[in-house]
Symmetry: C2
Subunit: 179 residues, 2 copies
C-alpha cells in the first residue's frame, strides 16, 4: 500500500481513511483523535503533531473530498461546458454533505490554505473550460470574472443566505456572465 512520499504520505492516507470510516460509523460529533489514531494504527501524538487539533484534521479531509475527481466535460461550446460545470458544482456543494465539507474546510483553517485550495479547484476547472473556448475561437471572459459571477454567488448563498440552489439558478448565473 506504500505510495510515493513514504511514511508521511502513508500516515496521511491512513488517518484520512480512518476519519471517513468513523464519520460514517459513529458520526461526526463522536470523532476523537484517540479513536481516529486507533483506527489508523498510529499514536494520537502523531496526529496532534501533524494536525494540531481535530478541526484542522477535518479541514484537510474536507478539502480532499472537495477535490474534483475528473476534469470538466467537453460538450463542444463554451455555454454548454460552463452550464454543465456550474450545474454539477451546485449539486455537489449545496448537498448536505457538500455543505458540511465546506464548513469543515473553513473552520479548521485559520491560515485559509484549505479555503484557497477549494477556490483553486474551481479556478482550475474554469480555466480548462475557458482555454478550450479560446482554442475554438470563442470569445470568453477571464477566470476571475467567472469566479465572481458564477462561483461566488453559489458559495455565498450556501454559507450566508438560506435559498434553494438548483440547476436553473446555476444556468442563470452562467448565462448572465456569458451574455
Amino acid at each position: 500500500m506504500a505510495r510515493p512520499g513514504g511514511r508521511s504520505a502513508r500516515v496521511q492516507q491512513a488517518v484520512h481513511a480512518a476519519v471517513r470510516e468513523l464519520d460514517t460509523e459513529v458520526g461526526r460529533s463522536a470523532l476523537t483523535i484517540p479513536l481516529i489514531a486507533a483506527r489508523a494504527g498510529v499514536t494520537p501524538s502523531t496526529i496532534y503533531r501533524r494536525w494540531g487539533d481535530i478541526q484542522e484534521l477535518l479541514s484537510d479531509v474536507a478539502v480532499e473530498h472537495l477535490r474534483p475527481d475528473t476534469g470538466p466535460e467537453d460538450l463542444g461550446d463554451l455555454t454548454s461546458d460552463m452550464r454543465a460545470w456550474a450545474e454539477q458544482f451546485v449539486e455537489e456543494m449545496a448537498s448536505e454533505v457538500g455543505r458540511a465539507y465546506i464548513r469543515d474546510a473553513l473552520l479548521g483553517d485559520p491560515e485559509s490554505n484549505n479555503a484557497s485550495q477549494c477556490s483553486a479547484y474551481a479556478a482550475d476547472a474554469i480555466d480548462v473550460i475557458l482555454g478550450r473556448a479560446g482554442a475554438r475561437g470563442e470569445t470568453a471572459p477571464d477566470v476571475e470574472t467567472v469566479l465572481d459571477a458564477v462561483v461566488a454567488p453559489i458559495m455565498y448563498r450556501i454559507l450566508f443566505r438560506p435559498s434553494p440552489l438548483d440547476a436553473a439558478y446555476a444556468r442563470r448565473l452562467v448565462d448572465g456572465c456569458l451574455k
Copy 2:
C-alpha cells in the same frame, strides 16, 4: 443601565461587553468562559446555559459588530449610492477585524442563523438604496441580483481567495451590476 428586555437583555449586554473588553486586553486565544463570566458579573453556568460554548458566544458578539451603525447614505443617484455603500462594505469586511468577525460569525453557528443575519444586514441596506432609486424613477435591479453581483464576490474573496480587495474592485462590481 437597564434596557428594555429585562434581565435577559442585561445579561447579554454585560457578557458581550466583557468579551469585547477581554478580547482587547488579553487577546482572543486567552478568552475563557470563566474569565468572561467574572468580568460580566454572572456565573459561568449562565453563559453555558445561554450560549452552549465559547464559539457560539463569539459568533453572537461578531454579528453584533457586523450590524451597520447607520443606514446607507443618500447621494442623489443609484450608482453613487451603491458605489459608496459597496466601498464601505469592502473596507469594513476586508479589514483584519472584519475578517475575524466574519469567521467568528460562521464558526460558532451550526444552524446558520448568524450567517443569515449578516446577509440580512446587507440585503436591508441594499433594499433602502434600491427603494430610493425607485422613488426617483431610476431603473434598478432587485436585491437578490445585487447580492449575487456585488456582495457575494466580496465575501467569497474574503473567505476563499487571497486577493487584494479595494474600493476600485467594489466600484467595478457595482458598475458591472448596474450597466
